[in-house]
Structures are given as C-alpha cells and as structure tokens.
Symmetry: D3
Subunit: 226 residues, 6 copies
C-alpha cells in the first residue's frame, strides 16, 4: 500500500520533518511519500495562502492518484480539503480532522496548541465545521503567555495550562511543523498528545486496506453526474 502526503506549503525543511515522521510511523508496513507544493507560500497562515496552494495541491493529487491508495493533507487548517475530497476517488484525509476526531476517542476534551493568535478564530471555525466545539477545551498559543521564541518548553507550558485551567485531557498539535513534539510533550504531561500526520496516516492506511473511500453521491460528487 502507498500513501501520499501533500504538504500544502513550500517549505522543504518542514516537508522533510513530515516525511521522516511518516516513514517512522509506517516503519515499512506501507510506503509513504511526502511532497511540498513548490508554488505555494512557505507557510499557510491566511485564507489567501490556502487559495495560493490549491492549484498545486490539485496537480499533485491528480498526478499521483493512480499509484497511491490514499492521500493526506498535512496542514492542520485542512486547506482545500473539501475540494480534494470532491475530485479524488481515493480517500483523502486532513490532519486537522483526523487528529481532532481521534482526540475525542481518548478523553473528555482536547486542547489545540497553535502557532499564532491570528489562527485562533480560524481554528475555532474549523472545529465547529467538524461539530467538535463541545469537545474543545481551548486553543492555546504559547506566545500569548510569554513573548519568547516558540520553544519546546513554551509549548509544554501551554499544554500544562490547558490541562490545569481549561480541563484538557488530550493535546492536539495544531501545526504539521510541530510533528516532533508529541512524545516530548506526552512524556512531560502524562496525557496523550496527537500529531495530525500520524493520525491521518492510521486512518488513511486503514481505509485503503478496507478498500473504501469518499462518498461520491452528493457533497463530494464533482461534475460527473447523479
């Protein structure tokens, strides 16, 4: 089985981190490839960034659809996800939806660690889109507490505040670029910490193995008919 990860931004370093994480998780059980969208901005932060990434995302999906069995969009704001689900005949998962829905299986409420205050309302809208608003404890941005560089410790500090003040029982990493923080935070907080890339991979691999995919009769039907 072969799984393709689309990194919607153009940052080669983040792409390599995601690829490494994914291959470690796959550990040879399935093949996994990760490509960035070279035409996209180096970081997806605004709605305009999302649109700029769309043509490249579509292109990569279409070029790879025949060989790969499932696709993952590796940006936690799930940019252009409805679109990719619509045009693909293979399963397409967003790391945002995958991580947050798995979080609800592991505890009463989850908190998201995010990178900028600007992202909070956008993530709130996403959480609500997925009907998860009542399972959300909080969205925490380290910089809101301390104006320091976003170090591992600042995320640990934010995670602990989410647990203590907001009632979080599970932590969700709110950016594909945080993919290496999961076990560090898990060890230091004692609660499950979910990386979206891994969460996306487990469901994508499962669906591919199960040989099922996106429903094409209405919402994600595309142009071709009824």
């Amino acid at each position: 089985m072969n799984i393709f990860i689309i990194n919607p931004n153009s940052d080669p370093e983040m792409t390599q981190v995601i690829r490494q994480k994914a291959q470690n998780f796959a550990s040879g059980d399935f093949e996994v490839e990760c490509q960035r969208v070279t035409e996209a901005p180096s970081f997806i932060e605004t709605y305009e960034d999302e649109i700029k990434s769309a043509p490249g995302m579509i292109k990569r999906l279409r070029e790879n659809e025949s060989y790969f069995h499932a696709f993952i969009v590796a940006c936690h704001c799930d940019p252009n996800l409805d679109l990719l689900k619509e045009i693909s005949t293979k399963p397409v998962l967003g790391i945002g939806e995958a991580s947050m829905k798995i979080a609800t299986l592991l505890g009463h409420r989850f908190s998201i660690l995010s990178t900028t205050p600007h992202s909070i309302p956008n993530k709130e809208a996403l959480v609500r889109k997925y009907h998860l608003q009542d399972s959300l404890a909080s969205i925490r941005v380290p910089g809101k507490e301390k104006r320091q560089n976003q170090s591992r410790d600042s995320y640990l500090h934010a995670a602990r505040k989410a647990m203590k003040e907001d009632g979080a029982e599970v932590i969700v990493l709110g950016c594909a670029g945080m993919t290496d923080l999961d076990k560090f935070l898990e060890k230091n907080t004692g609660v499950p910490v979910l990386d979206g890339v891994v969460c996306g991979l487990m469901i994508a691999a499962g669906l591919a193995k199960y040989n099922t995919s996106i429903s094409k009769i209405r919402r994600y039907r595309g142009k071709s008919g009824f």
Copy 2:
C-alpha cells in the same frame, strides 16, 4: 457611493441579469457595477469551480478597491468569501449570508430554492457555518418533484411545498440566476421572497454609508499584523 458586484462565474447573460436587478434596486441612489470573472467556469457548482474562480475574484476586488465603497459576491454559495473579507479593507458581503440572515428577521423559518440536488449538502454546510441551521425549514430543488425544465412554475410549486410541508415562512432564492423570480413568487405565495443580490446591496450600501467595515484584528486580519 459606489458598489461593486463580483459575479464569480463567467456567464455574460447571468451577469447582465444581476447588473440590471442591482441597478433597478439602486434606482440612482448609488452607483452599482457588476462584472463577471471571465477566467471562471460558466456556472459555480463544485468546490473545484469555486477555486477556479478565486484568482479572478481577488484580481477584480484589488483593481476596484480604491474606487468602490463595498463589494458583493453574487453567487449564493458565497465562494471564497472568507478570503475576500480577509484581503479587503472595504465591506464584502456574500449574497448567501445576506439573504439568509435577513430572512431570519422576517419569519420563523426560511426555505431555500436551489437548482440541483447536488447543491443540497453543500448549502446545508453553508447554513450551518452561519449558525442558521435551526432557522432553516428546508432546501427544495424543483427537479426533485418533477423532472421538467426548471420553469418559474416549478419554483412556485417548490415554494408552496416548502410552506405547506416544511413550515417555511420566508423563501430565499438559492442562486443569483434566479434573481428575477422574487416578485413573481411573492405575488403567488403571499410570503416574503428574498433575492440575495438585493439583500447584499441593502447591507453593503448601509455599511458603506455608516463608514464601517470588516474587523481586521484576527480572523480576517491577513498577513500584515498583530
């Protein structure tokens, strides 16, 4: 005051219908211009259609932002609306949000008349995005009752069913292309029938006159700040 209407599709006829309707409503109180997105598909039906229209929508907004006081996106699925709100310093209204929110001021529940069964789940997602799901009586597509050409009478038939079977008290036209049906349906049903272009215009003109606009501090802040 000058208001600019972006028709996200490339259909010149529909553009002319919208322009005419808008100028009739403006009736000289303000200037209104309507342009289509020539690079877009002739009808916006899928998520892919929406993305294809995005670059042209951005271009038209940016080219006209200094002269016009407010912008309207004249497609009832409000394509790329968050994006335009993000990049503009002027008010931007979608005809979907404008018509549905005004509908809640006029009656207990509203029904939307739509063009294809395919659009129903997409509109449901939009209705929920605007927190309006509990004010929605139904989404009715004439073709579901009779496989005939979508005539005025088929829309009237659907509106009457919405009133009688679904409890609709207000009818919302679910496509900019239906813009000429409002008074025909209103006369024949006895309930308010709302065209999104007119609804968008009244709020856009009001906001421009009030000299206020989109909040730029978080969700629609764009790249430049915080």
Copy 3:
C-alpha cells in the same frame, strides 16, 4: 420613504439623541421620525418595564402604519418585538436583532457593551433567541471593572478588555442611549462598533425599498387568518 422609530421609554433626551443620530444617517435620503412612549418608564430595564411600554408602542405603530414604510424599536432588548411584528403589515426591526446579525457579517465574534450587570442574563436569553450564542464573545458592563460613572472611557476600557480577553472582533452597543459612542470607540479600538439604530435603519430602509415585509402566514399572522 418614511421610517418611524419607536423609543420604548419616555426619556425625551434619549429620544432626541436617537432622532438626531437617525437623521444624520438618513442624511436626506429618506425621512425618519422618532417618538418616545410617554406612558412608559424613563428607562426599560425589567420585564415589567417592557410590558408597561407595550400599549403605547402598539398605539404608535397603529397610528403611523399607513404613512410610514417601516418601523424600528429603539431599545436594545427588543421589547415586544414579536408582538409588533405580529400586528404590523410593514417591516418592523429591533435594534438588538439588527445590530447583532450585522455584527456576524463583519467578524468572528462580537461583544456587547451593556449598562448594568442585571441586564446580562436577559441579554444572554435574547442572544440565544436569535441563535447567536456561538457568535457572542462576551457581554461587558463597565461598572463591573470600575464602580465609576459610566464614562466614555469606561466603555472604551470594557471594549478593549472584550477584544483582548474574550476574542471580540466587533463591538455592539447594547443600549440606544449609547448611540453616540460608535465612532469614538471605533477610532480608539480599530474594530467595527455597531449602533443598533443605524443598523436597524439600513435594513428597514432596504426592506421598504425592496417592498417586502414580515411573513404573515404563521408565527406573525395575528388574529385574521390561515
């Protein structure tokens, strides 16, 4: 076009402030009249105050219904609004519903500035009645922070707290008596600040121009029919 504003309380000063604000906004585009309910209390604060104002509100609506094209209830708790919608054949708007629904078009969440802690649960009930609870950031009463006279600065202070601590992106003035604060607060906070009288006027004028009104088939049907 002629619009009639009913101030549900009997305070002549507040009535004059509202009238002035309305005429400034109308700026000759339409005629606007504002009258107080002389039989009502000088301030509408309790449910009993609302009832005391009802007969006078009904009387003013009925006396003026033939000449005026739309009506506005200029008290932010929208007293007796369902009743006026029921008995009128012309559009009737509350400044509460108008301002809060327009607020959702301009940002992710809004906060309401209010006059007394007592009003908070009543406003919460109103917000929920309009299905807006998930768009509400907070209701802020200056006096809760500082026991001083409710000065312009105390409202500015409350607005800033709402933006910083509650995530407000839009500010709604929670009393018709605050009608002069909008531009002062907007200038000093940088976010849109909405006065309900203006918001009511723009929709009322729009609906009157569009020649549509309240649906009379069920909820607001009154005695005469079905």
Copy 4:
C-alpha cells in the same frame, strides 16, 4: 399550603375546568384557587392576546402574593412568565415549562398536541427557549389531518400519529383547555400523557413545601437592587 392558579384568559368555563382538575389533584392536601383574567381575551392565541392579559395577571399575583405560597400560569404558551417570575417573591411556574420538563423525565422524546397550526411556530420558539428542542418529537394539530371539530378522537388520532410517525414516547397537552384529555388519551395510547396544570401543581406544591423560590439576584431581580 395555598396555591393560586392564574388563567390568563377570561373564559369562565375553561377556568372552571382548570379549577376542578386542580382541586381533584390536590384532593385536600393543599388549598388551590383558580381565577381568570376578566380583562383578557377569551382565548390566548397571539402575542397581542398575551400582552392584553399582562396587567390583569400582574394585578392578581400582587393581590394574592401574601396569602398564597406559589403561583401557576395556566396557559401552555407561558405568557408573561418571565415577568411574573421577576415581580414575585414566591415560586411561579408555567404549565408549559412544567409539563415539558417533566416529560423529559419519562421518555426519550415528547410530542405536543396543539389547537391551531398558527400555534406551531410559537410553540417551537418556546420549546427552544427552554432548551428542549432536541427532546421534541413533534407538535401535532388534529385539524391538520382532518378538518373536523377538535373531538377527543381527533386528539387521540393525532397522539397515535405522533407515536408512530414521530417517535413520541410521551404526550404533552398543549392547552389548559385540554386538561380533561389526559387519562382518556393515556388509556388509549398506553403512554404517559401530561396535563400542564397537574405538572405545575406538583412542582409548585413541592417548592412551596421546600420553602424555596425564584432566584432574585440577576435575571428575575426586578427594580430593587444589585
């Protein structure tokens, strides 16, 4: 213990039916008095009817507050209930809220039998006000099925349809005038059928005995404080 029932309408017959039902339920355990509002319409159907009844309701509550231990508003649309809760220091219950909240203790979903199609949206708004919309199976009006006189059999027919087609497990009588239908319907449907007057009485008597009442600190505080 003494309980006072206010019938918000002026119909002497309905008042006598309610009084009788209440005294039968009390069966000497407590004293119960029922008075109509002579100044009110003979049937409360519209928002205007509710307002017309308000002054008489206030008067009866105030005249009897010192002697009686609890008050019940015996109209299923709970007219002016927030107001009476606000001005009273004794418990005040509406038969709508009492019957619907008890219904949720006895089964998964309840249906309301109502008198006119006009009342359906108004009752829906009330159900939602009490946060009960997800426990509502349906609101059924016999006349919608058969245009006959609203006989006992037509209500039985409506109750059976609610059980079979809407999933109702409990039936709530949607008008104080139906107060004699409960045991007839219960015998013939096999499910609990709740009369609001009885439901109001059991909670009012319980609260009076418990010597507790409406909270007066915020929403129902009235003029005097904070």
Copy 5:
C-alpha cells in the same frame, strides 16, 4: 403513598442522613423508605463503582416494586438510571436530573457544587445528556480553591464564587451526602439551593399521585414487547 429511595452506595451514615432529610420533607404526607446497597462501594465515584452497585439496585427495586409507588436513585451522578427506568413499571427519578431540571425553573443558570475534580468531566457529560449544558454556569469543587477539609464554609465559598464569577443564579448540591447544606447555603447566599433528594421526592410524589409513569414503548421498553 409510599416512596422508596435507593442509596446506590453502602455507607450507612449517608443513608441515614438521606432518610432523615426525606422524612422531614415528607412530614407525614407520604411514607418514605431509604435503603443502601450493601454490596456496593461506600462511595460512588468511578464508572466501575456504578457497575458494582447495579445488581443491588436492581434487586432492591424489584423486591419493592409492588408496595412502593415511586423510586428515587439518591446519587447525584444518576448511576444506572436508564436501566432502572427500563425495568420498572413505576416512576423512577434520579436526584441529578430532578435537581438540575428544577433549577432551570428558578433562575437563568445554575452551578453544581461537587466533591472532587475527578467528577467534573463526568458531571459535564451528565449535564449534556440532559440537554442542560447551556443552563450550566459552572461546576465548582471547593478543594480547587483551598486544599482544606471540605467544610461547610468551603462550600459556601465555592457557591459565592459561582455566583460572582460564573453567573450562577441557583446552586445545585452535587452529592446526596451534601443534603444538609441546602438551607445553610441558602441563608448565606440569598439564592435558591437545591438538594436532589428533596427535588426527586417532590416529582416522584407528584407523579405517583398523578398515577402516571415511565413510557414503555421504546427507549425504556425492556425485553417484553413492541
């Protein structure tokens, strides 16, 4: 009339406190019996505790069903309540559901006083099960403020914080073991304070007198039918 209270835990002291409280409230108007589940843990805190109590709860209900007219489960987490409703032909009330639903009749929002932080998410899940999440101000555990022994004063302190910081207008005692705190807290806070045992009794007695019970057609039907 005879009412049976099942204390799901095995603590004889708490059982005696509950029995005493119940008999005081009954004050001879009806007979009330309270028994503990001797096979159960001495305190119900976890989901496992609830299951351990189930067989004894079932046994006590079945042994006493012919003589008693209604049953109350006297643990505020309402353990095994759906089960008892399913197997009984008599009314069965939980003190959690009874107290929280009555709380909504007395004020805008209620807060629950609880014994351990561990219980907060479990109670949140219960509150949501009853559709009461939007009426909940907060769940307060005294130990969260001060690590002292849970004295009467620590509960009073927590109640006051709930009123002041969370907007609570009614206090609900979140454990049958707090049954003696109601009037102490009521006197010192000025707001209604509800003990679940009393709330359960008033509705149970009312339903028994009304001669109605749990609906047996679907959710609580048990094995025997349809």
Copy 6:
C-alpha cells in the same frame, strides 16, 4: 502487535463471524483475538443486558491487558465503554464510536442500519453522546418497511431509502452481527458502507502502533489519584 476484541454477548456464532472478519482485515499484519462474554445474554438489546455483560467484560479486559496492545468492544451500542476506558491503561475503542466518527470523514451525513425499532431511541442517545446528531441522516430498521425476515435484501432496501429519502451519503452497520454486509451493500449502493469491527481495528491498531492511549487525568482516571 496484538488486539483483543470483546464481544459483549454470549453468542458463539456471532463471535466467530466477528473473529473471522477481524482476522481477514488484519491479514497477518497484527494478531487479533475475539472472545465472547459467556455469562452475558446471547444478544445485547436492553440496558439490563448491558449491565449483565459488564462483569464478564471487565474480567476479560483485566485478564488480557498485559499481553494485548488494544481492546475493541464489538457491540454497536458501545456497552460499558466508559467503564472499560476508565479501568484500562491500553486503548479501548467501541465499534459504535469508531464507525460513526470515521463515517463523518467520508461524507456529509450517515445513516445507521439497525435491527429493531426498540434500538432507535437508544442509538439516538448514543449518537448525541458523541456529538454526532447533526451528521446523522437517519436510523433505518428494515422491519419498519417490511415485516419479513431481516434478509440482505431488506438491508439493501433500507440503505437505498436512507440515501434517497434521508440524504445519507455513508451507511454504518448498526450491529456487529451485520459485519458481513459491508461489501455486499457497498457494491449495490455505490456509497461507502462501514463495519464497526473493521473501523475499530484500524484505529486500535494505529493507536497501539503510535504507543498512545486513553487520557487518565480526569474522566477516565479511575480510583488511583489526581
């Protein structure tokens, strides 16, 4: 990796069907064992059935916890799931929660096929517990349409009605005993059909591989601490 499936009922045939399905899906990638609860009823239908199965479920989990890496409860009503999550240090998944949450990743709304009308309200309560009520198209029981034996064709008929009349885009099998229907229905309907056992396995295997588990800090903490 080793995964243990608990079939909460005592039916050896259904256990064998589940085991076979699970081993087929695992196809040697991981070890999977399935055991029934011999002390339980042969079919879990009522709340009492669920309780009767609890001790045996606990016993099997505890006996196998050291060797196995994850556990699945293979009954679609997820009996005693909160309890098993509480007492286990390994991941525990219900086939109800797993299948319904995966369904939301594949289409706009899902329908559940179920075995008896009695199960509908119980499943509705479960769906709501998981915050999925707005993603549910319907729960369909074949016997409601035709009183025939529940054949494969009757389920196909129900699935088609769900798609056509209720807007279902994904079908969820509402009983572990239907585990062999997935590909038959998928072939004949053209939409994804999800068996809970397979859905549970893919997430359980993924979580075990990821080496993360249930959060133990609050809701599922058990007796041992804070």
